[in-house]
Every structure is written in C-alpha cells, then in structure tokens.
Assembly symmetry: C2
Homo-oligomer: 113 residues x 2
C-alpha cells in the first residue's frame, strides 16, 4: 500500500487535512449550538405572544437563500436544502420540548426556521 517514493509525505498531508476537518467540525458544532439558542428564543417569543408558529413565506425565502449561497460556494443546492430540513427537524423537537415545559400541547409550538 505504501513504500513507493510518491507516498512520501502522504501521512503528513493526510494529518494536516484531517486537522483542518476537525477545526471546521468544531466551528459547525458551535455555530449549530448558537443557532439553536436563537431558534429557542424565537419559539419562546412566539409562544409568549401567541404568534403563529409556522411562517411558510419565511421558510420559502430561507430555502431559496440557502440554495443561492450553496451555489456560490460550490455546495450542492439540493444538499443545502436537505441540510436545512435536517436542522429544522431538530428545531421542531426543541420546540416540542418548550411547549411541553410551558404546559401547552406538544406540536402547538412548531417550525421556527
């Protein structure tokens, strides 16, 4: 598998790439943690003020915007849209917990994208 001269330096290059991947993963985790803090505040704000939980127009704008950002940065727009849906599923889970804590019916507080 190794042993030919073109393999010299490969372990170092691999380690360097992995180190960068690890750094970006730390960014992702911390940005996601911050994003969930914000969506929890949105959820509580809406619940406190009896605002409608879902906002289809906002959601449609978010999807379009993320697809545009993905195209600019050479990320598959379909992946970006699926990624947003993945995050939103977790947001909904958080909001159901908030609704449960507030004694309201689970599902009453929902998608704050």
């Amino acid at each position: 598998m190794t042993g030919n001269s073109s393999d010299a330096g490969v372990p170092e290059e691999l380690a360097s790439l992995r180190s960068s991947i690890d750094n970006l993963d730390a960014v992702l985790v911390h940005v996601l943690a911050e994003r969930f803090k914000l969506t929890e505040r949105v959820g509580r704000l809406k619940a406190e003020h009896s605002l409608p939980p879902a906002d289809p127009e906002r959601e449609a704008r978010q999807v379009e915007r993320l697809r545009g950002l993905a195209e600019e940065s050479h990320l598959d727009p379909e992946f970006a849209e699926t990624f947003l849906a993945f995050i939103v599923a977790e947001v909904i889970r958080h909001h159901e917990r908030i609704a449960g804590e507030a004694g309201t019916k689970p599902g009453a507080v929902r998608p704050q994208l």
Copy 2:
C-alpha cells in the same frame, strides 16, 4: 394575536433573531462547502496512494470528540453524532462520484470523515 402593550417591539425582536439565524446559516453553508473541499482532497489522496478508504479508529475519535464539543456548547450530543452521520453520508456520495470519475468501482473509495 397582537394588540396588547407587551407585544410592542416583538416584530423587531423577531426580525433581529431571524437576521442572526440567517447569518449563522450562511456560516454553516460556507463551512460545509470548505469541509467538502477537504474531504474531497482526502478522498483523492487516498485513492492515488491506494490507502484504505475507511479508518474506524479515526471515525470513533471524531464521534467522541464531536460529542464532547456538543456537551461543552450545550448541544445535544446525540444530535451532534447524527449530524456527523448526515455529513458523512454526503461525503460518501462525493467519493462515489470521485471513484466514478477515476474509473474505479463506485464504493471502492469511501468514508473519509
């Protein structure tokens, strides 16, 4: 739904929170785009040097590290692990494309987490 005095300022606060969420989403898309660039380089490097595509020890370390980072930042560690699996599924899709371009069997080049 609105009209009572405690609702004053709510639209502004909601708009401010959403603006921050949008900024974080832009960060997430750009960091993900950069992460995929790195995993593509890892995939090509391994394919060029006939290195084994999967590295279960590396993967186990990554999962443990991400769970730890999640706990520190008050993100659900289970979510962080699921998130990594979600990203890895996309990495595999990229690597299958790389393998296809290189004329190797799809599936021969796989999980570079």
